[in-house]
Symmetry: C2
């Protein structure tokens, strides 16, 4: 991970410049505030945190409104463990149901119920509006484009299997 191990630095660390620090601080502030904001908004209107909402959306967009657990976890960028807990909670709410996979007895599908779909239909407009007000309405088209490019680059660099990805000489 680090070229300079935390326990015994080798050489002068490459500190952030003042400008970089400013950018980084803004990034932390904005993402912290935005996550809090959206979590609160959805907790209010839909009774679940943002990431749970994202799971329902993903299911709604999938064929037959279902998806294998591992696949869903990967799409949502969370661990299988976390997903397991989340689905258990959503199941208790009646918004998702589990189904066995016929071809692989280990496998489970998470399936969006009608009730889950209904929650989504009811709360989606409010959520979209919140995102709009907090982000898109404040940015110029160029800034929106730029934001997309930047975030794609960052996400790409952190994608799965990044273990070893920054240590290519060890593979």
């Amino acid at each position: 991970m680090n070229t300079a191990p935390a326990s015994e630095p080798s050489g002068e660390p490459r500190w952030l410049t003042d400008q970089e620090q400013g950018v980084w601080r803004s990034y932390i502030e904005a993402t912290t505030l935005l996550e809090d904001h959206l979590d609160r908004q959805l907790q209010q209107d839909a009774g679940m945190p943002h990431i749970y909402y994202g799971l329902l959306v993903q299911l709604a967009e999938s064929p037959r409104r279902r998806m294998r657990m591992t696949e869903l976890a990967m799409h949502a960028k969370i661990t299988r463990s976390r997903l397991s807990h989340a689905v258990a909670r959503l199941e208790k709410n009646g918004w998702v149901r589990r189904e066995d996979c016929p071809s692989d007895k280990r496998g489970q599908f998470a399936v969006l119920t009608d009730e889950g779909y209904e929650v989504l239909r009811r709360t989606a407009p409010g959520h979209v509006e919140a995102v709009r007000q907090a982000v898109f309405d404040r940015l110029s088209p160029e800034q929106q484009k730029s934001l997309g490019e930047i975030m794609r680059i960052i996400a790409e660099g952190l994608q799965p299997k990044e273990a070893g990805a920054d240590l290519p000489w060890l593979r």
Copy 2:
């Protein structure tokens, strides 16, 4: 919050365009992955999550390495409650100490201990390197500048006292 209440939408919701959806999806992915990545890195190297690390940094940069609880909470964009729990944990680690405020008996200072400072000194280079590798090394100078502007705009719109800020006609 919503011009269209979640329970009973009024008028056609302003959905996100395909392009906006793409930007938003990238944003969610990137911030989720990056937060996980940095949390894991710091948990490994420093034995605490990213937000706790940020608290120590803030204290280290403050006069006399101390700050009032409420002020610290505001800087870190977290609730006083959360800070209270966090400081309790950091105190148990010996990295922070509480001190009473002489002029206001309700008040508490969070003070960075020498041990806490040492942890910071030891782990900062690795953390900076991680941030660099994940973000700054991948972005052009123009993109860095752009990212800073965009995040400042978003953070600004979400700043404190935003309750009522989007309902100016009610004030």
